[in-house]
Amino acid sequence: MLELIVISTLNGVLFGMLLFLLSSGLTVIFSMMGVLNFAHASFYMLGAFFGFQLTKWVGFWPALLLAPLLVGAIGMAVERYGLRNTHKHGHVAELLLTFGLAFAIEEVVSMIWGKTPLDYRVPTLLDFPAFTIFSTNYPAYKLFMLAVSVTIFVALLIVLKRTRVGLIVQAALTHPHMVGHLGHNVGRVFMVVFGVGSALAGLAGVIAGPALVTQSDMAAALGPILFVVIVFGGLGSLPGAFIASLVIGLVQTFAVALNGSLASAFGPLDPSAGPSVLTDIWNVTIAQVAPIVPYLLLVLVLIVRPVGLMGTRES
């Protein structure tokens, strides 16, 4: 039992940190521009595919640097030539633009790389078990993922809260005209922030690609859970996203580990009632519904505390 708890905690934290790496970019973009970027998971996918391709050409470590830069550049182009033009038509237009972009990116990716999973391997340098706990190995690559996520979190917090750049970024959010009058190019600030957010998604893609599956529907598979993270954590709050990622990673992992059902808690239904929909529901285990637990959390949070755990934003 202790073994299962320890291992599940580790697995949960690892999955949570990956979620954070993804949602950090989304949160940064949202807090800056008030746009829910539906294409965010697509930038993550682009990161994975660029990472795969560049790994083939120049090796993993250069790819780890180059792929996020490429994705960031694409993100900046999207902001400069897409979002900025639609901005004057309001949030709905921006939302629809990113929504369409997500589909476009998926199509382009499957046109170039095909629809089947790619053989994207963990770099040999990290392909060994880092430590063994209760006779379960922990791959070094997963620790590497963890380290990158924590580094990004700390770096983002420092930049946003402690530096001049962060000051301007935060000010541009609430008082764009004032910041503009002070001589800062607000448009460029927005563009760079969007680029950084996309690059973070790209980085998550390069890192997650070998550990999970790299294929053209990976964005669609991960997209919904990201929105759970940022809504649950509080729209626009970086520490909120961090906590929410951890909570959701742990909740989902532990839900898988639990075999409990209503039947095991309250005893089986009277057999004379015969098989019915009710007996099915009664016997469903928590493990079976694990994948939908995060979405239940989302609904609960929206009802009880619409701003999320640490959200401050009114809208």
């Binding site: 629809k115 997963k142 580990a257 994948p291």
Partner: protein, 410 residues
């Protein structure tokens, strides 16, 4: 006059084209070409295209050219019905599908209804891999033919093998949460209880179909249960990722699988270092030792650059040709009648036959294990240097289970 000539000049080649189009036998291949099942679906498509080319090189079926028309169903039953209708509109009278019994059941029902409503335009459904037993039992259909062994037949063969291995004491079941996965778990429970009452089932897991990207939490659970063996019907990315997570965690158990040989599976097994501890149930495999099959495998690999996952697809196409020749027609109704009780020398040796009662093809079943190759085993998988090794061969009479099918015949 000039207008008439022009019209004739335009129409005549179109007529010729139409006649030619009718001349080909179109087989609609409805399987996942995107999403989690894509790697398997693409492999199947390449296999069928190879088989069609092979037939065409020898003059096709009764002089008709065979054409495989691919349709992407994304492993989704609803999408499959749309694709099936599209296929029929495009002139397809034969549908072949395999991945996902949820899809298979939907297609079986669809073909039934279509044939009732469109007499004279019947469509046959050739099933090469959807193995839910209900498709040839309570939900059986005259228009459906299955070349893969149903999951209860496979489980019968597997438990017959497992019952003689005393080291199996604690078994963990992990399966995909849909009709096929549920039939694997219930068959395993039932048959193990009958043949090895001392074996303990220490876990019985169902997980969402082709949705999981990381199986580490499930592996942790298997480990905690103290299981020495795992039985799983997982296929597609679900088996590859399950084995990959086991490899990462260093889980050492025996794996009894239906589909560990699919894309990505062999690579993951090699990583775990589980030498001859992963078993698979098939109707044939590369190193079966049957010379004709091994020659066929060699030619197939040379041209398609993958291993022949589906010897049953070879059986299916050969039998299609034999039935058409027996009926002397490519009309689906006549071919269906000719297929009943038809015998076939299967690719890997031995005789199989299409049981008239339920349209289930009965054939020898092999248990094989994956690991280091012996001297007389030339074929590895996915360039791992490891390959499948014969463990046990169950001949046709022993690989049969009875059916409850009460077939409505036209």
């Amino acid at each position: 006059m000039r207008k008439l000539t022009l019209a004739i000049a335009l129409i005549v080649p179109m007529l010729g084209h139409a006649a030619q189009a009718e001349d080909t036998v179109k087989i609609g291949y409805i399987d996942p070409l995107s999403g989690g099942g894509a790697s398997i679906g693409e492999g199947g498509l390449k296999t069928f295209q190879y088989l069609a080319d092979e037939l065409n090189a020898k003059g096709g079926i009764l002089g008709h050219k065979v054409e495989i028309v691919p349709f992407d169903n994304k492993t989704n039953p609803q999408e499959s019905l749309i694709q099936a209708q599209k296929a029929i509109d495009a002139g397809v009278r034969y549908i072949t599908q395999g991945n996902g019994s949820s899809v298979g059941l939907a297609l079986e029902d669809f073909v039934n209804k279509h044939n009732t409503r469109n007499p004279g335009k019947e469509v046959l459904y050739f099933n090469y891999a959807a193995v839910d037993p209900s498709m040839t039992n309570e939900k059986c259909s005259y228009w459906h033919f299955r070349w893969d062994a149903s999951s209860d037949i496979k489980m019968e063969a597997l438990t017959n093998y497992m019952k003689d291995i005393p080291s199996i004491k604690k078994v963990y079941l992990i399966n995909q949460d849909y009709s096929f996965g549920q039939s694997v778990r219930s068959d395993a429970r039932k048959m193990l209880a009958a043949k090895r009452p001392d074996v303990q089932i220490v876990g019985d897991e169902l997980h969402p179909l082709l949705k999981i990207t990381d199986f580490s939490p499930y592996i942790a659970k298997i480990k905690a249960s103290g299981a020495d063996s795992v039985i799983t019907g997982n296929w597609g990315q679900d088996i590859a990722l399950l084995l990959k997570a086991a490899a990462d965690a260093g889980l050492k158990v025996n794996w009894y699988t239906y589909y560990a040989g699919g894309a990505g599976g062999p690579t993951a097994i090699k990583q775990t270092g589980l030498d001859h501890q992963v078993f698979q149930l098939t109707e044939g495999f590369a190193n079966s030792g049957h010379q004709a099959a091994m020659d066929y495998e060699k030619a197939f690999r040379a041209k398609v650059n993958m291993s022949l996952w589906y010897p049953r697809a070879v059986n299916e196409m050969r039998m299609f040709k034999a039935a058409a020749e027996k009926a002397n027609s490519i009309d689906p109704v006549k071919v269906a009648a000719a297929l009943e009780d038809l015998k076939l020398e299967v690719l890997d040796g031995g005789t199989g036959f299409m049981r008239k009662d339920d349209h289930q093809f009965l054939q020898p079943i092999y248990v094989s294990s994956f690991g280091k190759l012996a001297a007389n085993e030339p074929f590895d998988e996915e360039n791992t240097g490891w390959g499948w090794h014969l463990v046990s061969r169950v001949d046709t009479p022993q690989a049969m289970v009875s059916t409850t099918c009460k077939m409505a015949r036209p």
